[in-house]
Each structure stands twice: as structure tokens, then as C-alpha cells.
């Protein structure tokens, strides 16, 4: 029960300190007066009595101090006092404080940001139930050339579904797209067709309504659709009456039966936000789809493994099934058309592209963190030595050892806290920046947020470093006698160990900075190489729009062609447009592959080639050079012989030594095409991949699954290139022909190129930034070491100068040490680099990981800058007047 009395006292002592002090003074004064009274009563004169009383009372201040000690709020009071003192000390040495805080902040911030990114992108589990059991199965056709992974045919899916022994459940899905019309502006919606088993397999129930039933998979049932949460919110205002409502997709009515929860996403690939499936419809396998096994390979397979089945067992199982159905249908699978299925863990597959990037980032940022901690350690060590003098004096006056140590601890803590605060702010900024400017095709990048556990980890690490290196010198000093420290400028063995430690740390920092810088240099070289790859066409001054002539409103190809031709004609009359061309697939933005067979080759000898349906005049419009033969013309109509134009690579690979013009090939089962021209290569999928063999057809002669898509490329006059009004004029022209045509994705080739290298650019910029930070930190570290060195050797240098050594000589003496440290660091760094070189190799393009020019250039640069950073303290040393230095004891 005593706390009833204790608590108010404590609080009072804390918050009403002046009052309490006053009372103590009054209390003692009362006692003194009483004592004087007594003495006067005994016969002394007041003056004498006063002196006698004071003498008897003893040291009033000491009594007061003891009473204060009894108050036992001392700990808290002392703590605040230490905090105030610590802050004052930090303010007095702005250089040290700013550098230490920045260093810590950089290390913590960068590390937290990268860990957060890695955690979100690589480590966070997928938004499905037990995602580690999910696998995807894709197929390759190894004999058709290339390593392309495709989906499967409908019939193949059914075989896998019915004959497997590894999966608890399977599902199929296919990408789709619809024009959502009927309400407001026509909207292009990305969608996926999924089997009824898919959503239960994923284990995610609908937020509203339900997902599909098995009946809805049957051909001829009423079409139904499930919406994504964001589409429901965006387009339908989150109206709960959406269930049962009918929507028009490609002019067909669909009944909405469900809405999925917000975080749900399927298929889960690196598609950016704008391309994610917003709508799901049932996957319907009509009999002819099942029958035809080789025409279309668009079906994706997802399966949930049985509890104790491994990936390898599943792989063997599906390979077996494939072998089985290939034997059963020899008419479909022969020659080069043989499938090899591949099983991928869902999680790994979706992020496998981002993994090397993430690993690289983590390595880089670990380097930065180490350097940052090392720097802070160095700074603290140096400061510890400077403060030994001050600590010795305070110890001599009477400060308790515990109190001194505690104060050092508090100072270190303060530093860590401020550094941590800076780091947190920086981490938030960095993650935000990455979200805004990062490459669009890294899955889940948009969901990245600062990860609390990463933050905690880095803060704890920096706390430990600060405490260890701030505390250790204090600990050592508190054991030494004050007399040793007070005697002369710190020179004992402690200083030498400190120096050695500091030098070691500085060398390590330089080595790591070198490793990062070389990495950055190599990446930069790669990036420049990629950008200077000859494109095969001219991207400047182009304007691209896409539209879709959906089968519902344009069922007749002839009518569609008329509209397409008219559209191209009208657009070419827009002011400032030099020429207009149409294509179904554009380089660096779409890919579509077809299988073809040379005329006299075996009936099953198919090969892959890229394909695009283009308008006559496409090649000149894109400035793609026609090497032999001719372009498509008006004469290439439906009723005329089928023609095609191929690219250099296809000519080289399949017609070596012969003239391909005039040769023929099959596309599909029967159609025989004559090659009439050869054009230059164009990069299709990415700049850093070789141009694939490609076949062009005239969009007005050939009808394929891709005929609906039309991209229109407008080459512009320089005057019109950045005109804002251009889009509305183009829009008007399109809508003057047909009001319901959706126009989407307007862009330019320059933008497309930039997007295609976005990830590479991102990596390069990041690594270079880290390299710069590491470099800056290493230089600061070196600078600190050299300054400390100069301070230690002040006396010796002063004596040298007094004895006649010239300034340059002294300067050189100091710089020799700096040069030695820099040299050691560079050498170690160069030796270490090969270890890290492996991880960077995957990202490089046409640049060797051991490129000597880059290595030497960067090393020389680093060495030079390091030399400069040691020059400044050296010069400062020579500026000091010898007399002043010698007298300063």
C-alpha cells in the first residue's frame, strides 16, 4: 500500500522539481535557525551563534545532494540530463553528427527498401490457398526450333486431366479479351476463360455471389461472367445489384454471377495492372476444339499436387501422359510436332524473371549496409579517442564510472535513433519511388510497402553497431586511470589499435565500393549496348493506336477490310501525317507465332516463325529495308495467289545459299504461300534477343485469328510530333467511320522501346546509385581515417616541419598512407569481383563479366578519387603552424 504515498512523491519530484528543491532549502533553513536559537539561548552572540551553527550543520549543499539522491527519481532525471547533454554534444559536432546520421540513414533506408521489395515480390505467398502445392504445366515443341513455351491444346488438357495420378484437382485457363459495350464508352476488358474447377482449386471463394458450376462449361449454356473487384468498383460503382445483371461482351449477353475479392488475381503473371484479367468466363471445350490438337496452343494448365507428390514425380507423370496421347494420335504428332510438357511451381514460375534482379539488389544493398555500419563504427572509434581527454577529467572530478558509461550509451542510442528515423523516412521515399518509376512487368511491384520486419532488422543492426563501437572505447577508458589519459595527447597503445582497426575498415570499404562500382559500370555498358542495337526500323516520330474489329459487329471479312482501308486512307489525310500503315502485331510489343512447313519438306516437319498481318506500304512506312523482291500491293487480294514476305533470318536459316523469292511454304494444313520479298530483321520480343525468323502476310489477303486486331502506325511530320490535339483528331476520324470502335493503347515507338528496356534501365540505375552511395561512404570513411591519422601525428609532423621538412614532403608523407590504403582496397576489390561476377552475368548483354577495360577504368577512377580524399587532410596537416602544434598539449 505504500505506493499511495510513493507515487505522488515520485511524480512531484519529476514534474515539480523547483518546488521540491525550494522546500528542501526551507527545511534546512528552519533547522539552521533553530540551531542558532539554541546557541543564542546558551549565551552566544547572534553572529557567533550563526557561524557556529553553520559549522556544526556541515556542508549544506552536500546534505541537499544526499537528500536528492534519496529521491530515487535520479535515474529518470539523469536519463533526461544525459539525453540533453547527448543532444548538445551532437549539435556541437555537426560534421560528425550529420555524417553519422546520413550514413546510418542510407544504410537502413536502402536496406529496408530492398528487403521490402524482395519480400513483396519474391517471398510473399500468392493469394491462393496453400500456394506451394500449385503447379503450372506448359509445353514446348523442342524440334521446331527455339525454346518457346506455349500452353496446350484443349484435347491435351482433357487427357492430362483424366489420366494424371499426381493432382488432386486440375483447371484450365485461357487469355481472352472483350469489348464491354452498352454502358457509356466502350471498354476493352482483359479477361480469362477458366474451367469451373479453377477457382475452387485456387481455394478463393467469390466475395459476392459464386463462381462457375460444371453445367456452365457445357457448350450452349447461358453465358455467365464473374467480375474482378476493381472492375466492379470502377465501372459499376460497387453496386450490389450487379448479381443477375446482364452485360454485353462483344455484343453477346452475359449474366453476372459473382464478384471476386479485392486481392484476387488470376492468371498470375508479370502483367502490369492495365493488362490483368478483370473478368472471368467459363472455358468451354467444344468438340472441334477437342478434336484439333495442333492448331491452337493457348490453354494454360494449373494443378494442385497431391500431398506427398513432388514436382519431379508430377513431371514424370505428365511426360508419360504426353507420350501416351502422342502415340494415340500419330496423325497429329509426327515429325517436328512433338510436345514435351514442363511442370513449374506456380510461385517460382511467376517470379523467375524477377529473381535475378532481386538477388542482385540484395547483394548490392548488403554491401551498402556493411559499408555504412563500418563507417559509423570508424566515426565512433575516432570520436571515442577524442573524448578520452574529456572523460578523464570528468572521472577525476568525481563522476561515477557507471554514470560515464551510461552517458556514452545514451549518446550512442540517440545517434542510432536519429539515424533510424532518417532511415525510415528514406525507406518510405525509396519504396514509393520504385512503385512509381519501377518497371511495369515485375509482378506485385505495385503492392510493395515498407516491411516492418525488415525495418526492425536494419534498425537493430545499426543499433548494435552504434552501441558496440560507441560503447567499447568508453568501456576501455573507464578502466584506465585518469592520470594516463590526462598526461599528454592520446598516444598510448590504445590509439594504435584504433588506427589499425580503422585502416582495416577503410580498406574493406574501398574494396566493396569497388565491387559495386565495377558492377554498375558493367551494367551501364550493357545498357548502352542494348540501346544502340540497330532496330531494323525507324522509331522516331511515330504515333500508334490500336483498335479491334470484333467479330460480332464485323462478321464479314470483306466489310471489315473495306473499313480498314478507308480508315487508313482517312488517317493519312490528317494534317501532319506522312504515311499510315496497319499491322496486327507490332515489333517490341506483340508476338504471335505460327508453324510453317517448307513446300517439299516432310508433312510433319513444322517450324516456328513470328507472324504479322500488315498493310501494303507497311515496310516503307516503318523504314524496314526491302532486301530482295517486293512489298505487298493492292493486287494481293483474296482471289489472287497467296503471297508472303519473309525476313533475313528466316531466309538465312531455311534457304541457305538459295534465293528464297519464288519458293513456297505451307501455313496450316493446306495453304501454300509464295515468297515474294525479303526484308530486314526487326527485333520482336526484346532488344537483347536476336530477331526471330518472321513471316509477313497482307492483312487484306489472309484471314487468321489475329485479323481482328489492328494497330495503326502513323508517321508524323516533325511539326506535329508533340501536338496534344493529334489524338482527338485521330479519334474523330476513327469515330466518323464507326462510333463503336474502341481506341486504346495510343503510344509511340519511342515509348515502346523505352518500356521494353525498362527493367534493364531500372536495374542499371539502381546498381549505379548503390555504387555511388557506397563510393561516397567509402570516401568519407577514408577521409575520416586520414583525418584521425593526421591528428594523431600532429606533434611528429610539426617537429618535422620545424626541423626543416618542406610542406610538400610532409603532405606526401601523409598521402603515402592514404595511397597505400586505397591501393590495398582496390586490389582486394578487384580480386573479390569474380565472386560476384557470376550473379551479374545473367543481366549483361554483349559485355563480358570480366571486361578488362571497365575493371581497370573503374579501379583507376576509384584510386584517383581516394587519393584526392586523402589529399585534403594531408594538406590541412601542412597548414598548421609548427609552434602552435607543439604548444598544444
Amino acid at each position: 500500500m505504500r505506493w499511495i504515498y510513493k507515487l505522488p512523491l515520485r511524480l512531484r519530484s519529476l514534474f515539480r522539481k523547483s518546488r521540491v528543491e525550494q522546500e528542501l532549502t526551507q527545511e534546512l533553513r528552519f533547522h539552521l535557525e533553530k540551531l542558532i536559537e539554541e546557541k543564542v539561548g546558551k549565551g552566544m552572540i547572534p553572529e557567533e551563534a550563526r557561524y557556529a551553527a553553520l559549522r556544526e550543520l556541515g556542508g549544506v549543499e552536500q546534505i541537499k545532494e544526499e537528500c536528492r539522491d534519496m529521491r530515487r527519481v535520479n535515474y529518470i532525471e539523469n536519463f533526461f540530463q544525459d539525453v540533453r547533454y547527448g543532444l548538445r554534444m551532437l549539435r556541437k559536432n555537426p560534421g560528425f553528427t550529420v555524417v553519422a546520421v546520413l550514413t546510418l540513414g542510407l544504410g537502413i533506408g536502402a536496406n529496408t527498401a530492398v528487403f521490402s521489395l524482395v519480400d513483396t515480390i519474391l517471398l510473399r505467398p500468392l493469394p491462393y490457398r496453400d500456394p506451394h502445392q500449385l503447379v503450372l504445366v506448359s509445353e514446348t515443341l523442342p524440334q521446331m526450333g527455339g525454346d518457346t513455351e506455349v500452353g496446350m491444346a484443349a484435347g491435351e488438357y482433357l487427357d492430362y486431366r483424366d489420366r494424371n495420378r499426381s493432382f488432386v484437382q486440375t483447371g484450365a485457363y485461357e487469355a481472352a479479351g472483350f469489348n464491354l459495350t452498352g454502358e457509356g464508352t466502350p471498354l476493352r476488358v482483359n479477361a480469362a476463360a477458366v474451367t469451373a474447377s479453377a477457382f475452387p482449386l485456387l481455394g478463393v471463394p467469390a466475395q459476392l455471389g459464386r463462381s462457375f458450376t460444371a453445367d456452365e462449361e457445357q457448350p450452349g449454356s447461358i453465358p455467365v461472367a464473374v467480375l474482378s473487384y476493381s472492375l466492379w468498383q470502377r465501372h459499376y460503382g460497387a453496386d450490389r445489384r450487379i448479381l443477375g445483371k446482364t452485360i454485353r461482351l462483344d455484343e453477346k449477353p452475359y449474366v453476372v454471377v459473382g464478384v471476386m475479392p479485392p486481392s484476387f488475381q488470376f492468371p498470375f503473371d508479370g502483367a502490369p495492372l492495365s493488362e490483368r484479367a478483370d473478368l472471368w468466363v467459363p472455358e468451354i471445350f467444344t468438340p472441334d476444339r477437342v478434336q484439333d490438337r495442333v492448331k491452337e496452343f493457348g490453354v494454360g494448365f494449373i494443378g494442385r499436387l497431391k500431398p506427398r507428390v513432388s514436382e519431379e514425380q508430377a513431371q514424370a507423370d505428365v511426360a508419360n501422359i504426353a507420350g501416351g496421347f502422342m502415340q494415340q494420335h500419330p496423325e497429329s504428332y509426327s515429325g517436328t510436332v512433338r510436345v514435351a510438357p514442363r511442370v513449374h511451381r506456380f510461385a517460382a514460375y511467376t517470379v523467375h524473371k524477377a529473381r535475378p534482379l532481386m538477388m542482385l539488389l540484395m547483394a548490392a544493398v548488403a554491401c551498402v549496409l556493411l559499408i555504412a555500419c563500418a563507417n559509423v563504427a570508424n566515426l565512433l572509434l575516432a570520436r571515442g579517442s577524442y573524448r578520452s581527454h574529456e572523460m578523464a577529467i570528468r572521472s577525476a572530478i568525481g563522476a561515477a564510472r557507471r554514470r560515464l558509461l551510461w552517458q556514452c550509451l545514451v549518446e550512442s542510442l540517440l545517434l542510432s535513433l536519429v539515424g533510424a528515423g532518417t532511415g525510415f523516412g528514406l525507406a518510405v521515399l525509396l519504396v514509393d519511388g520504385v512503385r512509381k518509376f519501377g518497371p511495369a512487368d515485375v509482378p506485385r511491384l505495385q503492392e510493395a510497402a515498407v516491411d516492418p520486419s525488415a525495418l526492425l532488422f536494419t534498425i537493430v543492426l545499426s543499433l548494435l553497431t552504434t552501441l558496440l563501437f560507441g560503447f567499447a572505447p568508453a568501456w576501455r577508458l573507464s578502466h584506465a586511470s585518469p592520470r594516463d589519459c590526462l598526461q599528454e595527447s592520446p598516444r598510448a597503445g590504445g590509439a594504435r589499435t584504433t588506427q589499425r582497426l580503422q585502416s582495416f575498415v577503410a580498406v574493406a570499404e574501398i574494396a566493396m565500393a569497388l565491387v559495386l562500382s565495377v558492377g554498375g559500370g558493367l551494367l551501364l555498358k550493357s545498357f548502352v549496348r542494348v540501346l544502340s542495337v540497330p532496330l531494323g526500323f525507324r522509331p522516331e516520330g511515330t504515333f500508334i493506336i490500336r483498335t479491334l474489329f470484333d467479330r460480332a459487329r464485323y462478321p464479314d471479312p470483306i466489310k471489315r477490310e473495306v473499313v480498314q482501308k478507308e480508315l487508313i486512307d482517312r488517317l493519312s489525310h490528317v494534317r501532319g501525317v506522312q504515311v499510315v500503315a496497319g499491322a496486327s502485331h507490332l515489333p517490341l510489343s506483340d508476338t504471335r507465332q505460327i508453324g510453317f512447313r517448307l513446300e517439299h519438306a516432310a508433312p510433319d516437319d513444322f517450324h516456328w516463325a513470328e507472324n504479322s498481318l500488315v498493310s501494303p506500304g507497311y515496310f516503307p512506312a516503318m523504314s524496314i529495308s526491302i532486301l530482295r523482291g517486293r512489298d505487298f500491293t493492292e493486287q494481293d487480294r483474296r482471289d489472287m495467289p497467296l503471297v508472303a514476305v519473309i525476313n533475313e533470318t528466316l531466309a538465312r536459316q531455311y534457304f541457305p545459299g538459295r534465293d528464297p523469292v519464288g519458293q513456297r511454304f505451307h501455313w496450316g494444313d493446306s495453304d501454300l504461300f509464295t515468297i515474294v520479298g525479303i526484308v530486314g530483321d526487326v527485333h520482336i520480343s526484346a532488344l537483347d534477343r536476336d530477331p526471330p525468323p518472321m513471316i509477313y502476310n497482307s492483312m487484306f489477303q489472309v484471314q487468321s485469328g489475329a485479323s481482328e486486331r489492328t494497330a495503326l502506325v502513323l508517321r508524323l511530320d516533325p511539326r506535329r510530333q508533340h501536338d496534344q490535339n493529334l489524338f482527338s483528331e485521330v479519334q474523330q476520324q476513327v469515330w466518323s467511320l464507326d462510333r463503336e470502335l474502341p481506341i486504346y493503347n495510343f503510344t509511340s515507338f519511342e515509348t515502346l522501346i523505352s518500356e521494353s528496356v525498362a527493367q534493364r534501365r531500372f536495374t542499371t540505375v539502381l546498381i549505379l546509385s548503390f555504387a555511388l552511395i557506397a563510393l561516397a561512404l567509402a570516401l568519407i570513411g577514408l577521409f575520416g581515417v586520414m583525418s584521425y591519422l593526421v591528428a594523431q601525428r600532429q606533434r611528429e609532423l610539426a617537429i618535422r616541419m620545424a626541423l626543416g621538412a618542406d610542406r610538400a614532403g610532409v603532405c606526401w608523407l601523409v598521402m603515402k598512407r592514404g595511397a597505400a590504403l586505397a591501393m590495398a582496397g582496390c586490389t582486394i576489390g578487384l580480386a573479390l569481383f569474380p565472386l560476384g561476377g557470376q550473379s551479374i552475368r545473367a543481366t549483361l548483354y554483349q559485355t563480358s563479366a570480366y571486361d578488362p577495360v571497365t575493371l581497370l577504368l573503374v579501379a583507376a577512377l576509384l584510386f584517383g578519387v581516394a587519393l584526392l580524399s586523402s589529399y585534403i587532410p594531408a594538406r590541412r596537416a601542412t597548414k598548421v603552424d609548427p609552434m602552435v602544434a607543439l604548444r598544444h598539449e
Binding site: 505504500r2 505506493w3 504515498y5 529521491r71
Partner: protein, 109 residues
Amino acid sequence: MSKPTDLVQGTLDLLILKTLALEPMHGWGIAQRIRQVSKEVLQVNQGALYPALHRLEQSGWIRAKWGESDNNRRAKFYSLTPAGRKYLGQEEANWLRLSAAIGLVLETT
């Protein structure tokens, strides 16, 4: 003046608490009372008295109140808390037991 016997801290606490058991008193009064009752043997050192009083207050055995002294001057009066009263009883018993034991030892040897 005879040399005041130095009092061990615990003993001083006991004396103070006992003195306050009778009536609330200020520091000066406590010192006077102890001197008087012990027939001038125990002279409490002021340097020890006030720290002891403050310690006892902080521990919750006694509490303080400002009041008027006999000549109308403000003084800080201490009094026992209930817990303090109980504590006094315990310490008194301990002390008597201890001194009896010491007495026994001194008698026999």
C-alpha cells in the same frame, strides 16, 4: 560535549520511526527528542538526519506535511504511515531480539 556515537543507518531509521510514533514532528524536533530521551548519549548528525528522513519518506514509511511550528514559522512535519507503523513494530522486535542475543554472548564470555 561528548563525542556523539555514530549511528548505523538502520538504527537511525528505527529511532526516527519510534519518535514519530508518538506524534508528528519536524526534523529539528526529532533530533532534540532523541537527544533528550537518550540522555544526551545519542546526538544525531544533521548530515545523516535529513537524508534519512527523505529516504524514509521516499520508501513510504513516513509522510510529510507543511505546518506551523511553535513560534509560527513554517516547518515540514513528518508522521508515520500505517505501513510505517507496522514496519516499526517489526524492526523493534528484530532489534530487541538482536540485542538480547548480543547480551547473552557478552555475559557468558
